[in-house]
Symmetry: C2
Subunit: 268 residues, 2 copies
């Protein structure tokens, strides 16, 4: 949505379980102005890039001169261990890093930050001034205060453990309702196991469509985000995003039960 | 600056002391997409549109179908009497009205509001979402609270009387240092008397240029904004903007004295 006013031609790069498909990237990067990527617990899949994938991508981008826009709103929300170093840390002149306080403090403050090469600063400043003059000084001071007095450092671990417990509850509920997901994936909901963040990525049984299922799931009392709108190219219409951070553990169990009911009722 | 990313062709409409030159507008409006206008205590001139001018402009815009973008950040800062009704109140379907809390509450909150025809809402929402998703909910709640509990209504009159006293101090200081401004305008600084807002508009003696004068004024300890950058067409390079709201009354007297010294020292 942020890029749309510039009317770009968006081309998707194939994703692997722990990174980008570099052969696919190489085939597409010659015409690209930049690569936009979320290496940590990305929206919508919850996937992360591993150390080897980051190293390879960083080298490839440096070799071809492809600028990287690295978006990292979820990176602090790791469950068991911190993610590998950002791409920008590997090649600070090779791109722009975007951080956010929305997921670790409050989305209602609308505050984030940018790390960029010095040469890019004047253009960023110009674009920011044209967009809104500057971010609210009041909100900047508020965030400065909670960083300086240590609140933010104490707060983030509480979010990590909360979200981890909620992810575990969702994984447990899914395993309960779809016990044959691994052995018969085409006849069950299947899902991944994100190592952090807010979402997991799931896939409906064959012959089903997430957009079509949604109103029936809502009738059962649960909602999800169909995956199709997230695709730059032809979508996987069976895909969907499940968020585990807003509902409580009890609500997660009720929600997954409702989702299973909706799927089974529509399954041929 | 807000319009610049869209690369518009900006055409200025001649201003009269209390409104727009409607003949000039008629000559230019056929190719125009919209008219942007600040009817109250405008930046940079401090001028306002009178009742008759508003009525005539509103009729002319309605007749030709020219949409009006009415920007009103300063309208609440009147000194003796409230300004006439906004253009948008005369023809609500004919344009977009922009309000702001920056001048009456705090610029650091970066909050304003829009009044627009219902048909325009979906496009405004789309543009806002692309720009920043939404304005900070925290700041919206804060402003809602100070409106609901009456603070804003009590606060604005205190700003009016403060700024009026500061305008009066500046007018008095200018009259003291340029006593022959009325009788010999070409050899003196001349200025207008805004009925509200934050600025007055002044003009240097003949042969002087505000951009050239600025560093010499700064050497004397006072700054102003040269008028030239505010012009859409060929600028009046003798024009400049004087703000009377940030400095105290004592500082205003010192500042005008310093400005007079800088002018007299450079005057041939």
């Amino acid at each position: 949505m942020a890029f749309t006013p510039m009317e770009p031609e968006v081309v998707g790069v194939a994703g692997l379980a722990d990174g980008l498909d570099l052969a696919d990237l190489a085939a597409k990067s010659a015409q690209a102005r930049f690569l936009y990527v979320l290496p940590n617990f990305q929206n919508p899949t919850g996937r992360s890039m591993g150390e080897a994938s980051r190293a390879a991508l960083s080298q490839e981008a440096a070799r071809t001169g492809l600028p990287i826009m690295e978006d990292n709103p979820y990176g602090d929300l790791w469950f068991d261990r911190p993610p590998p170093a950002p791409l920008t840390a590997r090649n600070p002149e090779g791109g722009i890093y975007l951080g956010s306080f929305s997921k670790v403090l409050a989305p209602g403050l609308r505050m984030g930050f940018i790390v960029a090469p010095k040469a890019v600063y004047p253009k960023l400043l110009q674009a920011k001034q044209a967009a809104d003059l500057h971010s609210p000084g009041f909100n900047q001071r508020l965030i400065h205060a909670v960083m300086q007095d240590g609140f933010l450092d104490r707060h983030v671990p509480t979010i990590r453990s909360l979200y981890k417990a909620q992810r575990d509850a969702m994984l447990q509920a899914l395993a309960t309702h779809f016990p044959e997901a691994a052995s018969q994936p085409e006849h069950n909901l299947t899902w991944n196991t994100p190592a952090g963040g807010m979402f997991l990525w799931a896939r409906l049984p064959q012959g089903m469509n997430a957009v079509d299922l949604l109103p029936h799931a809502v009738d059962q009392g649960v909602a999800f985000v169909p995956g199709a709108p997230f695709f730059a190219g032809p979508p996987d219409t069976r895909s969907l995003r499940l968020s585990f951070v807003t509902p409580s553990v009890d609500e997660i169990h009720l929600g997954v039960a409702a989702l299973a009911l909706a799927i089974r009722a529509r399954q041929v």
